[in-house]
Symmetry: C2
DNA sequence: GTTATTGCAAATTATTTGCACTTGG
DNA sequence: CCAAGTGCAAATAATTTGCAATAAC
């Protein structure tokens, strides 16, 4: 099922409405391959319709996060970036702490760790929504070191 | 080696100075068993010396983070909390996404996962500085569910 | 029609900064 | 001494909010 259909479904499910602004934000997010800030999203949205307000962008991003379709992460301390994530298979998110890029992978390699943490430390992680922070290939190539 | 000695050492090493304010902030951090906000730290600091400014608290917290003695995490979206962490052994930090509490554990249970991510996805994590987000025992007991 | 949603502008709020003064080494 | 550190007050800046107008359903 495509992102758009998932979105429409979830909106209906909660009694929310499909608006022009929400469609635009979602389509703009598709145009980015890496993590982007709210302002970058806003700028791109403006190119499509200059009437859309930045507060609407924020409100839509929050909605998409509630729906699990977008994740956001803090990078560089002050910058918050957003990512559209696949709505298919549950998966772990490898989030680059340098650029905020997100890579979705299968959950199995972390299953052992998860059960270890639960049995030994009573610490519960949600594998279907597990974020691992590190360095992506690109940022490694730029010579950035893993310890921040 | 105690936190205080480590702190003094690191300060010397970088040519920074040991001030009253820095000592107070560090001692106040010892008094908290769980994660606290900058303002909570500031309030406690004020009880000891009302002359210390909140900007100094922020500056000191940043310094302590640079030294790897404090970690901070975002919880609940808007709240940022700080934790004094053990200066001994390198370890993984289990950070509760609900209350911000940090539990330090040994690195070995995650070694397999780390090498898997590196070989299969070219994604590099720093095991000595690995943060895993989840729910601590206390928050689980409060009936909070792992998916946020 | 009714109610969610929006645009606008103003508010919020945690954090940061410039600078003259103070203090540690 | 003198560079690092501080307090103060003001600036910042990203995000949020109240509300009347608008548009989905």
């Amino acid at each position: 099922m495509s992102c758009e259909l998932v979105f429409i479904d979830k909106l209906k499910e909660k009694g929310f409405r499909l608006t022009m602004q929400r469609e635009i934000v979602l389509s703009v997010l598709h145009g980015f391959s890496s993590a982007v800030s709210a302002e970058e999203i806003y700028n791109r949205v403006q190119e499509i319709s200059s009437a859309v307000d930045i507060s609407t962008v924020y409100r839509t991003l929050e909605l998409l996060q509630d729906f699990g379709m977008v994740i956001s992460s803090d990078i560089g301390g002050d910058h918050r970036v957003y990512n559209l994530v696949s709505v298919e298979e549950p998966h772990i998110h490898l989030v680059c702490k340098e650029c905020g890029q997100v890579l979705g992978i299968e959950t199995d390699p972390a299953e052992k760790l998860a059960s270890y943490l639960e049995s030994h430390h009573n610490f519960l992680i949600d594998l279907k929504n597990f974020h691992i922070s590190g360095l992506c290939e690109d940022c490694q190539e730029k010579g950035i070191s893993p310890n921040e």
